[in-house]
Structures are given as structure tokens and as C-alpha cells.
């Protein structure tokens, strides 16, 4: 009886120290919301400011009014950009470059990742690490040697590579392929070995195992890699700035900067509009693919 009393007596004292499950959860939620709100404010301020500015005339932008409010909203910036032939050219160049680069990247990195994660050949582990290390070399180190290479190539073969938008199709994959391969190696490695063994016994060759088993099972990874490759090629700035100069060869990020900044005159309204319009395609793609990305497709493969 005495022990029973002692036990019950000690309980109230213990409660505040450890707290209940739901109380812990409630606090965790509060903190997460607090930081989420901070995060949202921090990251949404620039695009909101861009949107506000894009709806103003140049006169209103330079006027000394509240910069966070639009007094005379106008769509003139949008109309001007969307009817300007050079802006549409940049947009088209960007779109073609990105789509082709994404396709090239996936065509190279998916089989590469499959080989590196599943076919154990001599040096495969070293090669896999090597692929990742290439990604760590920044483009700021590479664009000068690349420029020199293209120039030399031109001297030898008379084929002009500089100031041609399509040369970006060969340059961007040097950035996208290593990282996409690395992502895919991770996804493929998480697929249980028994799955390819089962396919092997069922009579599938390597290519069939890749296309019929690995790609469908690792679809979330594939989508992650696609999003990544698209974002990199859409937003790439340094390489097109270095390699393309004529107005008809430019892609969107460089095009906006070179055509809308004239000397020290910044056409802020159109710059912001161009940036917003440029950010739209990746946003749409993210929104569209996110569901697939999150869906856990590997559930149920093995015992889980």
C-alpha cells in the first residue's frame, strides 16, 4: 500500500517535466508555423515586389510615392514585352534550349545511373564519385577554357560555335548530366536488388529491366532530375552571357538584361515583367509535377 501511494504521489510532479505527447506536438506545430511564416515572408517579398513594380509605369516607379502600392495599375509593360519580337525570340530560344537539354540530360544520365548503380564493373564506384566531383567544378572556372576551346575549334574546322544559341545544347549538359546522374544513382540504388533479379529470371534483358522496371519505379527520382535539369538550363546566365551576343541568339535571362538595360538606364517595369514571365514556366512545371514527385511509388515493392 505504501509503495502504491508513493508511486501515485510522484506522478503529478513528473508530468510537467516530460509533458504529454499532444502538448509536445502542439508546441512543435507552433514553432514550425512561426518559422514557416518567416520563411514565406522572406522568400515571397521579392516576387511580390516584382509583381507590384511590373504593374507600374516608369513615371510611377521613379516618383517618390509608396513603392509597395500601385496607384495607377497598368498592363502596358506586359503588352509591350509580349508584342516585342526580340522578347519572343529570347523566350523561344530559352524554351528550345531547355527542352532539348532536359531530353539530352535524361537520355544520358538515366542509362549512366543504371550502369553505375547496377552493373558492377571495374572502376564503377570511382566513376560514380567522379561524376559527382565534376558537378562541383563551378562554371566560372570553365567558361574561359570553353570559350578558348570553341575558338580553336573554329580555327581548325571553320565551324562557328561562338554566338550560336545551339552551342548551349552542348554546354548545359556539362552542368545537368553529372547532377542528374547522381540523383538517379541514389534512386536506383534504393530499388531492392531482388527486383532486377526477378526481372532477370523473368527473361528481361538490361534494357528491358531499365525501361519496364527501373524507370517506372524510380519515376519520382526521374521527375526530380527533370525539374533540376530544366531549372538549370532555364536559369543559366553565365554561359549564354559569355557565348552568345547577337540579339537573335540570346536566351531569356541574358536577353532581358541586355535589351532592357541601356547604359545606365534601367527599364525597371519591363525588367520586372520579363523576370516574372520568365519565372512562369518553371513554376507551372513544378506545380504540375509535384504530385507525381511526392507520390511514393516504391511502396509495396517488397515487404514494407
Amino acid at each position: 500500500m505504501a509503495t502504491a501511494d508513493a508511486v501515485t504521489g510522484s506522478r503529478p510532479a513528473a508530468r510537467p517535466r516530460y509533458g504529454s505527447m499532444s502538448r509536445d506536438r502542439r508546441w512543435a506545430l507552433r514553432w514550425s508555423y512561426f518559422f514557416l511564416v518567416l520563411f514565406v515572408i522572406f522568400f515571397l517579398t521579392p516576387p511580390v515586389y516584382m509583381l507590384i513594380t511590373s504593374l507600374k509605369t516608369s513615371a510611377e516607379i521613379s516618383a517618390a510615392t509608396n513603392p509597395w502600392w500601385v496607384y495607377h495599375p497598368t498592363l502596358s509593360n506586359y503588352v509591350e514585352l509580349l508584342t516585342s519580337p526580340s522578347f519572343l525570340t529570347y523566350f523561344r530560344n530559352s524554351a528550345v534550349v531547355s527542352v532539348v537539354v532536359v531530353s539530352l540530360t535524361m537520355l544520358i544520365s538515366v542509362p549512366a545511373a543504371f550502369a553505375l548503380s547496377r552493373m558492377k564493373f571495374w572502376g564503377s564506384a570511382t566513376l560514380a564519385t567522379g561524376v559527382f566531383l565534376t558537378y562541383l567544378i563551378p562554371e566560372t572556372l570553365l567558361f574561359l577554357p570553353l570559350f578558348k576551346m570553341f575558338a580553336t575549334f573554329n580555327e581548325w574546322t571553320d565551324i562557328q560555335l561562338i554566338n550560336r544559341w545551339w552551342v548551349l545544347l552542348f554546354v548545359y549538359p556539362t552542368l545537368t548530366v553529372p547532377f542528374a546522374t547522381w540523383i538517379m544513382i541514389g534512386y536506383f540504388a534504393s530499388i531492392p536488388k531482388e527486383l532486377d533479379e526477378a526481372a532477370l529470371i523473368d527473361g528481361a534483358g538490361w534494357l528491358q529491366t531499365l525501361t519496364k522496371i527501373f524507370i517506372p519505379v524510380a519515376l519520382p527520382g526521374l521527375i526530380a532530375a527533370t525539374i533540376f535539369a530544366f531549372t538549370v538550363s532555364w536559369a543559366q546566365f553565365l554561359y549564354p552571357l559569355a557565348f552568345t551576343t547577337s540579339s537573335d541568339q540570346l536566351v531569356l535571362p541574358v536577353g532581358i538584361i541586355t535589351s532592357l538595360i541601356k547604359g545606365d538606364v534601367f527599364n525597371w517595369g519591363q525588367i520586372m515583367t520579363g523576370a516574372l514571365l520568365g519565372a512562369a514556366p518553371p513554376l507551372i512545371i513544378y506545380a504540375f509535377l509535384m504530385d507525381y514527385y511526392i507520390a511514393g511509388l516504391t511502396a509495396g515493392a517488397t515487404k514494407g
Binding site: 531482388e194 527486383l195 526477378a198 529470371i201 523473368d202 527473361g203 528481361a204 519505379v217 509495396g300 515487404k303
Partner: protein, 366 residues
């Protein structure tokens, strides 16, 4: 359908020899179980038969053809994996028909075979589901269905029940046996569970450290184990091993366990132990079921003795009793009504007709 022959199979990983030159003949329609502790080489052997592992040395024949260099898909085998290995993005029907579709079978034939396998396994209503919508037992059935539809020469099972809970395991064990009775395909089955091995197998292959310890029917292994390892591995609770000496007493032999305790050897067995009196260290092997409570009438070969019980474990249909003899904990199985109590003495009887004498140095049963 086909027989499988292994000839001097060796598997070496760098320095480690996982399988050390084993020979095994598996007859057509036979259900053979490879059993042994983890790391004994049973799974490696199975994977070599499947073609998933290269063979370092030796020969594997399936249906009379040497298949050493034949890729898995051309060996005409089907394999069921421990974790099922179902294709997660395909329905049950697609999972089961995947192999046939790759071989470009006509649609009608595929449907016929899948339906037939689904009927045997009782999974007809699951054909449109995805693996993640299935329970563990259902997944294992689908994995078996995938093997059955191929109508292969040999079924290979790699610990197929290890991921299931105990109750389901017993149920699926029966299912596997039923399926084999219907399809009669030569089967090689790997498990570490000796109960599974005993219940399923036509013949059991006990493996240890890359070698085959003994091959035989479940009854042979149980009653006539050839080594201490097999004697200890087969049977649950495991056989008791008690250090002993063999004495010449009058015209017969006696097994002396302690100064106070000695069992006379039944005359039928005495001849085979005659020359092992001075053979150094010996062990008496006696299964728990051969140590029971002493009844009023003793059978020939039964020897009564008194033991002070350390622990008793009532199992319902029987009670396990543990008591020390010569420094070893010995297990016996007594009737639940025999009055066994922790810490109290009980009159027990050892049935020496079923005894084994083991040479401790060589590990062989004499």
C-alpha cells in the same frame, strides 16, 4: 520438369569460401529443402542454381544440360524471393504475366495461365490490385503465382516465409505443400527454419559452413543424424548433449554420466559402441521427448532416475522440464499432469533405445 545435379560446386568470394565443393542430386518432381544456420552457403547455392551468382568451380546441370554459363532467363527456372520482389507499378495480373509477355506469348495463352495459377493460389479477386494494396501473405501468393505461370523446370524458393508472422507462416507452409502436390515441379527451397524444412521436404539437405552435413528424408535426419551438428539442428527443443563415459559392466555396456548416474545401454545398441570405450571425449545425445516422467511400467530400454528440476515450462499439451546433469542443462518433455514443479525433484525415465553416442572431437555420431 527436370532433375538438378550439382557437381563439386565451389563458390569463393575473394578469400572466403562460401560453398566448399558440394555434390547434390535432386530428382524430377522432388521437393528438396536446403537448411542451415545463416552463412552456411544455402542461399548462395540456390542463387548459383538460379544463375544469379557465378560458380567458381564445379558443374550445375538442369534437365541433363550443364548450365554453368547459361544466363538465368534461359535456365527455365522461376524464383520466389524472401521479400517477394513484386514489381510495384504493375497490377497482380501484370506481375504474374510479365515473364510471359516478355517472351511474347499470345494474349489468350497468358490469360489462361494466369487464371489457372490464380485459381490454384486462390487470388483470382486480386488480379487488378497493385502490390501495395495486398497483405504480406497475399504478396507471397502473387510471387508464387509469378513462378507458376512460367511453368518452369525448377522452382527456387529463397526463404519465402521469413517475412511473414508466425501464424501466417504455418498457413503458407501448407499452401506451398499443396501447390507442389498439384504442379509437381522440381523444387529447391532454402530456409533457416528446421520446422519448415521437416514439414515441406521430400529430402532435407543440412548445410553448415559451406559443406553438406547430411542429406536424407526428414525421418532419417531426425532418427539417424550422422553428425552432432545435424543432431542438434534438427528437432525442437534441441537434442541434449551430455558428457559421458562408456563402461564395461558385467556382460554389457553402461553410459556413465556422473558418479551417481549411469544408464545401461540396451543390448541391441551395445555392439556398435563396443570399441568406443577409450575413445576420449564422448557425448550422450538424447532428445527431450526421450526423457519423460517415469510411469509405473517401464518399457525395455527405459531407465528411471531422479532429477531436481531447475525450471519448468508448461506448453499446454506438454511441460518442458530443465535440470542439470554433469554441468549441462538437460531438457525433458513430461505430461502436464506429471506434477513437475520448479525446484522440486521428479522421477524421470530416459529411453535409451533412441540414444546417440557422439565422438566430441570429430563431431560424428557413432
Amino acid at each position: 520438369m527436370a532433375e538438378v545435379k550439382l557437381r563439386k560446386i565451389i563458390k569463393r568470394y575473394d578469400e572466403v569460401e562460401a560453398v566448399r565443393g558440394i555434390d547434390l542430386d535432386i530428382a524430377d518432381h522432388e521437393f528438396v529443402v536446403l537448411v542451415g544456420p545463416s552463412g552456411c552457403g544455402k542461399s548462395t547455392t540456390l542463387r548459383m542454381i538460379a544463375g544469379l551468382e557465378d560458380i567458381t568451380d564445379g558443374e550445375i546441370m538442369i534437365g541433363g544440360d550443364v548450365v554453368n554459363d547459361v544466363p538465368p532467363k534461359d535456365r527455365d527456372i522461376a524464383m520466389v524471393f524472401q521479400n517477394y520482389a513484386l514489381y510495384p507499378h504493375m497490377t497482380v495480373f501484370q506481375n504474374m504475366s510479365f515473364g510471359l509477355r516478355l517472351k511474347r506469348y499470345p494474349k489468350a495463352e497468358i490469360k489462361k495461365r494466369v487464371d489457372e495459377a490464380a485459381r490454384i493460389l486462390d487470388i483470382k479477386e486480386l488480379l487488378d490490385r497493385k502490390p501495395k494494396q495486398l497483405s504480406g501473405g497475399q504478396r507471397q501468393r502473387v510471387a508464387m503465382g509469378r513462378a507458376i505461370v512460367r511453368n518452369p523446370k525448377v522452382f527456387l524458393f529463397d526463404e519465402p516465409l521469413s517475412n511473414l508472422d508466425a501464424k501466417l507462416r504455418v498457413q503458407m507452409r501448407t499452401e506451398i505443400k499443396k501447390v507442389h502436390q498439384q504442379v509437381r515441379t522440381t523444387t529447391v527451397y532454402v530456409t533457416h527454419d528446421q520446422v519448415e524444412a521437416m514439414t515441406l521436404a521430400d529430402r532435407v539437405v543440412v548445410m553448415n559452413q559451406g559443406n553438406i552435413e547430411q542429406v536424407g528424408t526428414p525421418q532419417q535426419l531426425y532418427h539417424n543424424p550422422r553428425t552432432r551438428f545435424v543432431a542438434g539442428f534438427i528437432g525442437s527443443p534441441a537434442m541434449n548433449f551430455i558428457p559421458c563415459e562408456v563402461e564395461q559392466v558385467g556382460g554389457g555396456l553402461s553410459i556413465r554420466l556422473t558418479n551417481e548416474l549411469a544408464f545401461p545401454v540396451p543390448p541391441a545398441r551395445a555392439a556398435q559402441y563396443q570399441n568406443h570405450g577409450q575413445n576420449g571425449k564422448l557425448l550422450l545425445g538424447l532428445r527431450p521427448e526421450h526423457i519423460t516422467e517415469a510411469g509405473p511400467h517401464l518399457e525395455p530400454g527405459e531407465v528411471p532416475f531422479e532429477a531436481k528440476l531447475d525450471v519448468t515450462e508448461p506448453m499446454g499439451m506438454e511441460t518442458l522440464v530443465y535440470f542439470p546433469v554433469n554441468g549441462t542443462q538437460v531438457c525433458g518433455r513430461v505430461n502436464p499432469n506429471a506434477g513437475a514443479r520448479d525446484g522440486l525433484p521428479l522421477r524421470l525415465a530416459a529411453n535409451l533405445n533412441n540414444m546417440h553416442l557422439i565422438d566430441e572431437t570429430s563431431g560424428r555420431v557413432i
